[in-house]
Amino acid sequence: MDEVQVKVKPEMVTVYIMGQAYQVPAGLTILKALEYAGFRLVRGVGCRGGFCGACATVYRLPGDYRLYADLACQTTVKDGMYLALLPSTPAERRSYDIRKVKPAGETLLALYPELARCVACNTCTKSCPQKLEVMDAVQAALRGDIAKVAELTFDCLSCGLCTMRCPAEIPHYHVWQLARRLYGAYLAPKAEHLHRRVQEIEEGKCKEELERLMRLTREELRELYKAREIEPE
Protein backbone atom coordinates (compact mmCIF):
# COMPACT_ATOMS: atom_id res chain seq x y z
CA MET A 1 0.00 0.00 0.00
CA ASP A 2 1.35 3.38 -1.00
CA GLU A 3 2.13 5.80 1.74
CA VAL A 4 0.02 8.93 1.66
CA GLN A 5 2.29 11.94 1.61
CA VAL A 6 1.16 14.80 3.78
CA LYS A 7 2.40 17.96 2.21
CA VAL A 8 0.68 20.52 4.41
CA LYS A 9 3.25 21.98 6.77
CA PRO A 10 1.85 22.81 10.18
CA GLU A 11 2.02 26.42 11.23
CA MET A 12 4.82 26.71 13.75
CA VAL A 13 5.12 28.99 16.78
CA THR A 14 8.08 29.74 19.01
CA VAL A 15 7.82 28.98 22.69
CA TYR A 16 10.47 29.42 25.35
CA ILE A 17 10.65 26.46 27.68
CA MET A 18 12.67 27.30 30.74
CA GLY A 19 14.50 29.93 28.75
CA GLN A 20 15.25 27.89 25.64
CA ALA A 21 13.47 28.61 22.31
CA TYR A 22 11.65 25.76 20.54
CA GLN A 23 9.64 25.65 17.32
CA VAL A 24 6.43 23.71 17.90
CA PRO A 25 3.24 23.31 15.84
CA ALA A 26 0.50 25.82 16.65
CA GLY A 27 -2.56 24.37 18.29
CA LEU A 28 -0.68 21.97 20.57
CA THR A 29 -1.37 22.11 24.25
CA ILE A 30 1.55 23.21 26.40
CA LEU A 31 1.91 19.59 27.54
CA LYS A 32 2.13 18.23 24.00
CA ALA A 33 4.45 21.06 23.01
CA LEU A 34 6.81 20.03 25.79
CA GLU A 35 6.81 16.46 24.51
CA TYR A 36 7.21 17.66 20.90
CA ALA A 37 10.26 19.60 22.05
CA GLY A 38 11.72 16.39 23.42
CA PHE A 39 10.92 16.56 27.14
CA ARG A 40 9.96 13.23 28.65
CA LEU A 41 7.50 14.05 31.40
CA VAL A 42 7.63 11.87 34.45
CA ARG A 43 6.16 14.32 36.96
CA GLY A 44 3.93 17.28 36.17
CA VAL A 45 1.66 15.18 34.00
CA GLY A 46 -1.31 13.08 34.93
CA CYS A 47 -4.78 12.64 33.49
CA ARG A 48 -4.26 14.94 30.46
CA GLY A 49 -7.92 15.77 30.77
CA GLY A 50 -7.93 18.79 33.09
CA PHE A 51 -9.02 16.88 36.17
CA CYS A 52 -5.99 15.85 38.19
CA GLY A 53 -4.17 19.17 38.59
CA ALA A 54 -0.69 17.68 38.12
CA CYS A 55 0.43 19.88 35.21
CA ALA A 56 0.35 23.32 36.82
CA THR A 57 2.14 25.77 34.56
CA VAL A 58 3.04 29.45 34.61
CA TYR A 59 3.74 31.53 31.55
CA ARG A 60 4.09 35.04 30.22
CA LEU A 61 3.20 36.45 26.82
CA PRO A 62 5.26 39.06 24.97
CA GLY A 63 4.32 42.66 25.79
CA ASP A 64 2.19 41.67 28.78
CA TYR A 65 3.33 42.06 32.40
CA ARG A 66 0.93 39.45 33.79
CA LEU A 67 2.13 36.08 34.99
CA TYR A 68 -0.49 33.64 33.78
CA ALA A 69 -1.19 30.33 35.46
CA ASP A 70 -2.99 27.38 33.95
CA LEU A 71 -2.96 23.64 33.40
CA ALA A 72 -0.51 22.55 30.68
CA CYS A 73 -2.96 19.96 29.33
CA GLN A 74 -5.75 22.52 28.90
CA THR A 75 -3.93 25.47 27.38
CA THR A 76 -2.70 25.80 23.82
CA VAL A 77 0.65 27.39 23.03
CA LYS A 78 0.87 30.94 21.77
CA ASP A 79 3.69 32.49 19.79
CA GLY A 80 6.35 33.97 22.05
CA MET A 81 5.07 32.21 25.19
CA TYR A 82 7.59 31.88 28.01
CA LEU A 83 6.70 28.94 30.20
CA ALA A 84 7.72 26.68 33.03
CA LEU A 85 6.09 23.68 34.64
CA LEU A 86 5.43 23.61 38.39
CA PRO A 87 5.08 19.87 38.97
CA SER A 88 4.75 20.19 42.71
CA THR A 89 4.01 22.91 45.25
CA PRO A 90 5.59 22.31 48.63
CA ALA A 91 2.91 22.76 51.30
CA GLU A 92 2.49 21.10 54.65
CA ARG A 93 -0.76 19.38 55.48
CA ARG A 94 -1.32 19.68 59.24
CA SER A 95 -2.49 16.56 60.98
CA TYR A 96 -5.86 16.31 62.70
CA ASP A 97 -8.42 13.73 63.69
CA ILE A 98 -11.59 14.62 61.81
CA ARG A 99 -13.69 13.02 64.58
CA LYS A 100 -12.19 15.35 67.16
CA VAL A 101 -12.27 18.77 65.44
CA LYS A 102 -15.20 21.20 65.41
CA PRO A 103 -16.74 22.48 62.17
CA ALA A 104 -15.90 26.09 63.07
CA GLY A 105 -13.60 28.86 61.92
CA GLU A 106 -11.40 28.38 64.97
CA THR A 107 -10.49 24.88 63.73
CA LEU A 108 -9.25 26.25 60.41
CA LEU A 109 -7.36 29.06 62.12
CA ALA A 110 -5.81 26.79 64.74
CA LEU A 111 -4.45 24.39 62.12
CA TYR A 112 -3.67 27.03 59.50
CA PRO A 113 -3.06 30.30 61.39
CA GLU A 114 -1.47 31.80 58.25
CA LEU A 115 -5.03 32.27 56.94
CA ALA A 116 -5.12 35.43 59.04
CA ARG A 117 -2.25 36.84 56.98
CA CYS A 118 -4.52 37.30 53.96
CA VAL A 119 -4.47 40.91 52.76
CA ALA A 120 -7.18 40.36 50.13
CA CYS A 121 -4.79 40.96 47.23
CA ASN A 122 -6.75 38.48 45.09
CA THR A 123 -3.61 36.99 43.50
CA CYS A 124 -4.92 33.51 44.30
CA THR A 125 -8.13 34.07 42.34
CA LYS A 126 -6.18 35.38 39.37
CA SER A 127 -3.97 32.28 39.33
CA CYS A 128 -6.73 29.65 39.52
CA PRO A 129 -7.04 27.53 36.35
CA GLN A 130 -10.47 26.42 37.54
CA LYS A 131 -11.63 30.04 37.75
CA LEU A 132 -12.66 29.57 41.38
CA GLU A 133 -13.21 32.57 43.65
CA VAL A 134 -10.24 31.57 45.77
CA MET A 135 -9.96 34.79 47.79
CA ASP A 136 -13.66 34.67 48.63
CA ALA A 137 -13.02 31.18 50.02
CA VAL A 138 -10.15 32.48 52.20
CA GLN A 139 -12.47 35.22 53.44
CA ALA A 140 -15.24 32.71 54.17
CA ALA A 141 -12.69 30.63 56.11
CA LEU A 142 -11.72 33.69 58.16
CA ARG A 143 -15.31 34.24 59.23
CA GLY A 144 -15.89 30.56 59.98
CA ASP A 145 -18.30 29.84 57.15
CA ILE A 146 -17.25 26.23 56.51
CA ALA A 147 -20.19 25.46 54.22
CA LYS A 148 -19.30 28.41 52.01
CA VAL A 149 -15.65 27.33 51.81
CA ALA A 150 -16.72 23.81 50.82
CA GLU A 151 -19.07 25.17 48.17
CA LEU A 152 -16.58 27.65 46.69
CA THR A 153 -13.76 25.08 46.50
CA PHE A 154 -15.74 22.05 45.35
CA ASP A 155 -13.98 22.08 41.97
CA CYS A 156 -10.45 22.62 43.36
CA LEU A 157 -7.90 20.27 41.75
CA SER A 158 -5.16 20.92 44.32
CA CYS A 159 -2.84 22.04 41.52
CA GLY A 160 -1.13 24.39 43.98
CA LEU A 161 -0.90 27.45 41.73
CA CYS A 162 -2.68 29.76 44.21
CA THR A 163 -0.53 28.37 46.99
CA MET A 164 2.63 29.12 45.00
CA ARG A 165 1.52 32.69 44.26
CA CYS A 166 0.08 33.68 47.65
CA PRO A 167 2.05 36.47 49.40
CA ALA A 168 0.54 35.35 52.72
CA GLU A 169 1.90 31.82 52.14
CA ILE A 170 -1.41 30.10 52.80
CA PRO A 171 -1.51 26.41 51.77
CA HIS A 172 -4.96 26.84 50.22
CA TYR A 173 -5.69 23.37 48.96
CA HIS A 174 -5.00 21.76 52.32
CA VAL A 175 -7.33 24.24 54.01
CA TRP A 176 -10.02 23.53 51.42
CA GLN A 177 -9.66 19.79 51.96
CA LEU A 178 -10.08 20.24 55.71
CA ALA A 179 -13.13 22.47 55.18
CA ARG A 180 -14.77 19.98 52.84
CA ARG A 181 -14.07 17.15 55.27
CA LEU A 182 -15.62 19.16 58.11
CA TYR A 183 -18.58 19.92 55.89
CA GLY A 184 -19.05 16.28 54.98
CA ALA A 185 -18.60 15.03 58.53
CA TYR A 186 -20.72 17.58 60.40
CA LEU A 187 -22.70 19.97 58.21
CA ALA A 188 -23.96 18.21 55.08
CA PRO A 189 -27.42 16.70 55.46
CA LYS A 190 -27.10 13.02 56.31
CA ALA A 191 -28.26 10.47 53.73
CA GLU A 192 -30.99 8.78 55.75
CA HIS A 193 -31.66 6.07 53.16
CA LEU A 194 -28.00 5.08 53.23
CA HIS A 195 -28.05 4.94 57.01
CA ARG A 196 -31.13 2.69 56.94
CA ARG A 197 -29.54 0.41 54.33
CA VAL A 198 -26.38 0.00 56.41
CA GLN A 199 -28.53 -0.81 59.40
CA GLU A 200 -30.46 -3.45 57.45
CA ILE A 201 -27.23 -5.06 56.30
CA GLU A 202 -25.85 -5.04 59.82
CA GLU A 203 -29.04 -6.69 61.00
CA GLY A 204 -28.38 -9.54 58.56
CA LYS A 205 -30.60 -8.66 55.62
CA CYS A 206 -28.18 -10.04 53.01
CA LYS A 207 -26.44 -12.60 55.17
CA GLU A 208 -28.17 -15.69 53.86
CA GLU A 209 -27.79 -14.73 50.22
CA LEU A 210 -24.12 -13.96 50.74
CA GLU A 211 -23.44 -17.25 52.47
CA ARG A 212 -25.15 -19.13 49.64
CA LEU A 213 -22.85 -17.40 47.14
CA MET A 214 -19.80 -18.27 49.23
CA ARG A 215 -20.64 -21.99 49.01
CA LEU A 216 -20.86 -22.03 45.18
CA THR A 217 -18.08 -23.39 42.96
CA ARG A 218 -16.29 -21.18 40.46
CA GLU A 219 -18.30 -22.77 37.62
CA GLU A 220 -21.64 -22.25 39.37
CA LEU A 221 -20.74 -18.65 40.04
CA ARG A 222 -19.89 -18.11 36.38
CA GLU A 223 -23.27 -19.55 35.30
CA LEU A 224 -25.07 -17.42 37.81
CA TYR A 225 -23.24 -14.34 36.60
CA LYS A 226 -24.16 -15.04 32.98
CA ALA A 227 -27.80 -15.53 33.91
CA ARG A 228 -27.94 -12.31 35.96
CA GLU A 229 -30.78 -9.94 35.47
CA ILE A 230 -29.83 -6.80 33.63
CA GLU A 231 -32.00 -3.74 33.93
CA PRO A 232 -33.28 -2.48 30.58
CA GLU A 233 -31.57 0.73 29.47
Partner: protein, 277 residues
Amino acid sequence: MKRVLYFPGCALKDQAQEYERATLAALAKLGYKVEELPRWNCCGTVYSLAQDDLMRHVGPVRNLIRVQEAGEEKLLTLCAMCYNTLHRSAEFVNDPENLRRINAFMDDEEDYRGGVRVLHLVQFLAEEIGEEDLSRAMVRPLEGLRLGAYYGCTLLRPKEVGVDDPDRPEIMERILQALGAEPVLFPERVECCGAYLTVTRPDVVRERAGEILLSAAEAGAQALLTVCPLCKFNLEERRPLGAPKLLVYYVGEALAWALGTQEIPEELAKSLTGVMS
Protein backbone atom coordinates in the same frame (compact mmCIF):
# COMPACT_ATOMS: atom_id res chain seq x y z
CA MET B 1 -37.74 51.36 53.85
CA LYS B 2 -34.51 53.26 53.39
CA ARG B 3 -31.61 51.26 52.03
CA VAL B 4 -28.27 51.20 53.80
CA LEU B 5 -25.21 49.20 52.80
CA TYR B 6 -23.58 47.35 55.65
CA PHE B 7 -20.17 45.77 56.27
CA PRO B 8 -20.39 43.01 58.91
CA GLY B 9 -16.75 41.93 59.33
CA CYS B 10 -15.52 38.49 60.32
CA ALA B 11 -16.15 38.63 64.08
CA LEU B 12 -19.84 39.49 63.59
CA LYS B 13 -20.27 36.36 61.50
CA ASP B 14 -18.51 34.21 64.06
CA GLN B 15 -17.94 35.13 67.73
CA ALA B 16 -20.18 38.24 67.85
CA GLN B 17 -23.28 37.02 66.05
CA GLU B 18 -25.56 38.38 68.79
CA TYR B 19 -24.40 41.93 67.98
CA GLU B 20 -25.39 41.59 64.33
CA ARG B 21 -28.68 39.80 65.03
CA ALA B 22 -29.86 42.39 67.57
CA THR B 23 -28.76 45.42 65.55
CA LEU B 24 -30.21 44.35 62.21
CA ALA B 25 -33.58 43.57 63.77
CA ALA B 26 -33.61 46.96 65.51
CA LEU B 27 -32.63 48.86 62.36
CA ALA B 28 -35.40 47.12 60.44
CA LYS B 29 -37.82 48.34 63.11
CA LEU B 30 -36.47 51.85 62.52
CA GLY B 31 -37.33 51.56 58.83
CA TYR B 32 -33.98 50.60 57.34
CA LYS B 33 -33.40 47.90 54.79
CA VAL B 34 -29.90 46.88 55.77
CA GLU B 35 -28.11 45.20 52.88
CA GLU B 36 -24.92 43.28 53.38
CA LEU B 37 -22.10 44.50 51.15
CA PRO B 38 -21.73 41.94 48.33
CA ARG B 39 -18.50 39.90 48.31
CA TRP B 40 -16.92 41.80 51.20
CA ASN B 41 -13.53 40.71 52.51
CA CYS B 42 -11.80 41.17 55.86
CA CYS B 43 -11.52 44.88 56.70
CA GLY B 44 -7.74 44.46 56.88
CA THR B 45 -7.48 44.56 60.64
CA VAL B 46 -5.24 45.86 62.22
CA TYR B 47 -4.71 49.14 60.33
CA SER B 48 -1.12 49.23 59.11
CA LEU B 49 0.92 52.16 60.37
CA ALA B 50 3.71 51.61 57.83
CA GLN B 51 3.27 54.31 55.19
CA ASP B 52 4.90 52.26 52.44
CA ASP B 53 3.16 48.98 53.23
CA LEU B 54 0.61 49.51 50.47
CA MET B 55 -0.38 45.87 50.29
CA ARG B 56 -2.15 46.24 53.65
CA HIS B 57 -4.51 48.80 52.17
CA VAL B 58 -5.59 46.63 49.28
CA GLY B 59 -8.13 44.68 51.35
CA PRO B 60 -9.93 47.68 52.84
CA VAL B 61 -9.95 49.59 49.54
CA ARG B 62 -11.37 46.56 47.76
CA ASN B 63 -14.34 46.79 50.11
CA LEU B 64 -14.75 50.47 49.24
CA ILE B 65 -14.80 49.49 45.54
CA ARG B 66 -17.69 47.11 46.32
CA VAL B 67 -19.59 50.07 47.80
CA GLN B 68 -18.89 52.06 44.63
CA GLU B 69 -20.06 49.13 42.48
CA ALA B 70 -23.30 49.01 44.45
CA GLY B 71 -23.89 52.68 43.61
CA GLU B 72 -23.73 53.81 47.23
CA GLU B 73 -21.62 56.39 49.01
CA LYS B 74 -22.08 55.30 52.60
CA LEU B 75 -21.00 52.14 54.37
CA LEU B 76 -22.34 51.20 57.80
CA THR B 77 -20.12 49.23 60.19
CA LEU B 78 -20.91 47.76 63.61
CA CYS B 79 -17.50 46.54 64.73
CA ALA B 80 -15.30 49.38 65.98
CA MET B 81 -12.15 47.74 64.58
CA CYS B 82 -13.65 47.39 61.09
CA TYR B 83 -14.86 50.98 61.30
CA ASN B 84 -11.39 52.17 62.20
CA THR B 85 -9.51 50.22 59.54
CA LEU B 86 -11.94 50.98 56.71
CA HIS B 87 -12.22 54.64 57.60
CA ARG B 88 -8.46 55.12 57.87
CA SER B 89 -7.84 53.38 54.57
CA ALA B 90 -10.50 55.59 52.97
CA GLU B 91 -8.50 58.57 54.28
CA PHE B 92 -5.22 57.02 53.13
CA VAL B 93 -6.35 56.88 49.50
CA ASN B 94 -7.41 60.53 49.61
CA ASP B 95 -3.75 61.02 48.75
CA PRO B 96 -3.73 60.82 44.91
CA GLU B 97 -0.37 59.03 44.81
CA ASN B 98 -1.54 56.33 47.22
CA LEU B 99 -4.76 55.95 45.26
CA ARG B 100 -2.88 55.65 41.95
CA ARG B 101 -0.62 52.88 43.24
CA ILE B 102 -3.41 50.90 44.88
CA ASN B 103 -5.50 51.12 41.71
CA ALA B 104 -2.54 50.08 39.55
CA PHE B 105 -2.02 47.03 41.74
CA MET B 106 -5.70 46.02 41.65
CA ASP B 107 -5.90 45.44 37.91
CA ASP B 108 -8.72 42.97 38.51
CA GLU B 109 -11.14 45.61 39.79
CA GLU B 110 -12.56 48.89 38.55
CA ASP B 111 -10.57 51.88 39.84
CA TYR B 112 -11.59 53.26 43.20
CA ARG B 113 -12.68 56.87 42.69
CA GLY B 114 -12.76 57.87 46.35
CA GLY B 115 -15.55 59.46 48.30
CA VAL B 116 -17.05 56.52 50.21
CA ARG B 117 -17.99 57.53 53.75
CA VAL B 118 -17.50 54.88 56.42
CA LEU B 119 -20.01 55.25 59.24
CA HIS B 120 -20.22 53.54 62.57
CA LEU B 121 -23.52 52.42 64.08
CA VAL B 122 -23.36 55.01 66.86
CA GLN B 123 -22.96 57.81 64.30
CA PHE B 124 -25.78 56.34 62.29
CA LEU B 125 -28.05 56.30 65.35
CA ALA B 126 -27.11 59.70 66.73
CA GLU B 127 -26.67 61.66 63.51
CA GLU B 128 -28.49 59.90 60.69
CA ILE B 129 -31.56 58.82 62.66
CA GLY B 130 -31.27 61.28 65.53
CA GLU B 131 -32.25 61.10 69.16
CA GLU B 132 -35.78 62.33 68.58
CA ASP B 133 -36.67 59.58 66.14
CA LEU B 134 -34.95 57.04 68.36
CA SER B 135 -37.07 58.11 71.32
CA ARG B 136 -40.17 58.06 69.17
CA ALA B 137 -39.54 54.50 67.98
CA MET B 138 -38.92 53.24 71.50
CA VAL B 139 -41.54 50.87 72.90
CA ARG B 140 -39.81 49.88 76.12
CA PRO B 141 -37.84 52.71 77.72
CA LEU B 142 -34.78 51.50 79.58
CA GLU B 143 -35.70 53.66 82.58
CA GLY B 144 -33.92 52.62 85.71
CA LEU B 145 -30.98 51.04 83.93
CA ARG B 146 -27.61 52.55 84.73
CA LEU B 147 -25.44 51.69 81.74
CA GLY B 148 -21.79 52.50 81.26
CA ALA B 149 -20.71 53.14 77.66
CA TYR B 150 -17.23 51.72 77.17
CA TYR B 151 -15.69 53.32 74.06
CA GLY B 152 -12.25 51.76 74.04
CA CYS B 153 -9.81 52.99 71.39
CA THR B 154 -10.76 52.35 67.82
CA LEU B 155 -14.02 54.28 67.82
CA LEU B 156 -12.25 57.43 69.00
CA ARG B 157 -8.64 57.36 67.93
CA PRO B 158 -6.91 58.70 65.97
CA LYS B 159 -9.07 61.77 66.15
CA GLU B 160 -9.23 62.11 62.33
CA VAL B 161 -11.56 59.12 62.26
CA GLY B 162 -13.00 59.38 65.78
CA VAL B 163 -16.78 59.44 66.01
CA ASP B 164 -16.60 62.05 68.76
CA ASP B 165 -14.17 64.00 70.96
CA PRO B 166 -11.52 61.36 71.81
CA ASP B 167 -11.20 62.56 75.43
CA ARG B 168 -14.76 63.53 76.25
CA PRO B 169 -17.06 61.59 73.98
CA GLU B 170 -20.79 61.70 74.58
CA ILE B 171 -22.29 60.14 71.46
CA MET B 172 -23.07 56.79 73.13
CA GLU B 173 -24.41 58.53 76.23
CA ARG B 174 -26.76 60.55 74.01
CA ILE B 175 -28.07 57.34 72.46
CA LEU B 176 -28.55 55.71 75.86
CA GLN B 177 -30.37 58.77 77.09
CA ALA B 178 -32.65 58.72 74.04
CA LEU B 179 -33.46 55.11 74.89
CA GLY B 180 -34.43 56.10 78.41
CA ALA B 181 -31.44 54.65 80.25
CA GLU B 182 -29.21 56.50 82.65
CA PRO B 183 -25.72 56.73 81.15
CA VAL B 184 -22.96 56.32 83.72
CA LEU B 185 -19.69 58.15 83.09
CA PHE B 186 -16.57 56.47 84.45
CA PRO B 187 -12.89 57.43 84.20
CA GLU B 188 -11.77 54.35 82.25
CA ARG B 189 -14.41 54.55 79.52
CA VAL B 190 -11.96 55.76 76.83
CA GLU B 191 -8.95 53.73 77.96
CA CYS B 192 -7.58 50.71 76.08
CA CYS B 193 -8.68 47.18 77.04
CA GLY B 194 -5.32 45.74 76.06
CA ALA B 195 -6.56 44.59 72.68
CA TYR B 196 -4.40 41.98 70.94
CA LEU B 197 -2.03 41.68 73.86
CA THR B 198 -4.66 39.21 74.99
CA VAL B 199 -2.75 36.63 72.91
CA THR B 200 0.83 37.25 74.00
CA ARG B 201 0.45 39.15 77.31
CA PRO B 202 -2.84 38.13 78.92
CA ASP B 203 -1.44 39.44 82.23
CA VAL B 204 -1.45 43.01 80.87
CA VAL B 205 -4.99 42.61 79.58
CA ARG B 206 -6.15 41.15 82.91
CA GLU B 207 -4.84 44.24 84.67
CA ARG B 208 -6.57 46.53 82.14
CA ALA B 209 -9.87 44.64 82.32
CA GLY B 210 -9.77 44.82 86.12
CA GLU B 211 -9.25 48.60 86.09
CA ILE B 212 -12.06 49.18 83.62
CA LEU B 213 -14.56 46.96 85.42
CA LEU B 214 -13.72 48.47 88.79
CA SER B 215 -13.95 52.00 87.46
CA ALA B 216 -17.39 51.33 85.94
CA ALA B 217 -18.71 49.55 89.01
CA GLU B 218 -17.54 52.29 91.36
CA ALA B 219 -19.34 54.84 89.23
CA GLY B 220 -22.51 52.80 89.67
CA ALA B 221 -22.91 51.06 86.31
CA GLN B 222 -25.00 47.88 86.29
CA ALA B 223 -23.70 46.77 82.92
CA LEU B 224 -21.26 47.87 80.27
CA LEU B 225 -22.04 48.53 76.63
CA THR B 226 -19.42 48.09 73.94
CA VAL B 227 -19.10 48.25 70.17
CA CYS B 228 -16.09 45.97 69.83
CA PRO B 229 -15.97 42.14 69.93
CA LEU B 230 -12.37 42.22 71.14
CA CYS B 231 -13.15 44.62 74.01
CA LYS B 232 -16.05 42.36 74.99
CA PHE B 233 -13.85 39.30 74.95
CA ASN B 234 -11.20 40.98 77.07
CA LEU B 235 -13.67 42.37 79.62
CA GLU B 236 -15.35 39.00 80.01
CA GLU B 237 -12.61 36.42 79.54
CA ARG B 238 -9.71 38.32 81.09
CA ARG B 239 -11.57 39.57 84.14
CA PRO B 240 -9.23 39.08 87.10
CA LEU B 241 -10.47 37.20 90.14
CA GLY B 242 -12.23 39.56 92.50
CA ALA B 243 -13.00 42.24 89.89
CA PRO B 244 -16.66 43.31 89.64
CA LYS B 245 -18.70 40.88 87.56
CA LEU B 246 -20.27 43.45 85.31
CA LEU B 247 -22.27 42.13 82.38
CA VAL B 248 -21.09 43.35 78.99
CA TYR B 249 -23.49 43.88 76.06
CA TYR B 250 -23.30 45.38 72.63
CA VAL B 251 -24.89 48.78 71.98
CA GLY B 252 -27.04 47.09 69.32
CA GLU B 253 -28.50 44.84 72.00
CA ALA B 254 -29.56 47.78 74.17
CA LEU B 255 -31.14 49.31 71.08
CA ALA B 256 -33.05 46.07 70.44
CA TRP B 257 -34.34 45.98 74.07
CA ALA B 258 -35.67 49.52 73.82
CA LEU B 259 -37.25 48.98 70.41
CA GLY B 260 -38.86 45.78 71.60
CA THR B 261 -37.20 43.46 69.09
CA GLN B 262 -35.40 41.58 71.84
CA GLU B 263 -36.11 40.70 75.47
CA ILE B 264 -34.20 42.55 78.17
CA PRO B 265 -31.94 40.06 79.98
CA GLU B 266 -33.39 38.92 83.29
CA GLU B 267 -30.45 40.24 85.29
CA LEU B 268 -31.27 43.76 84.13
CA ALA B 269 -35.04 43.61 83.71
CA LYS B 270 -35.61 43.61 87.48
CA SER B 271 -34.17 47.10 87.89
CA LEU B 272 -36.37 48.66 85.22
CA THR B 273 -38.62 51.32 86.64
CA GLY B 274 -40.25 52.59 83.47
CA VAL B 275 -43.72 51.55 82.40
CA MET B 276 -43.52 48.50 80.16
CA SER B 277 -45.71 48.57 77.10
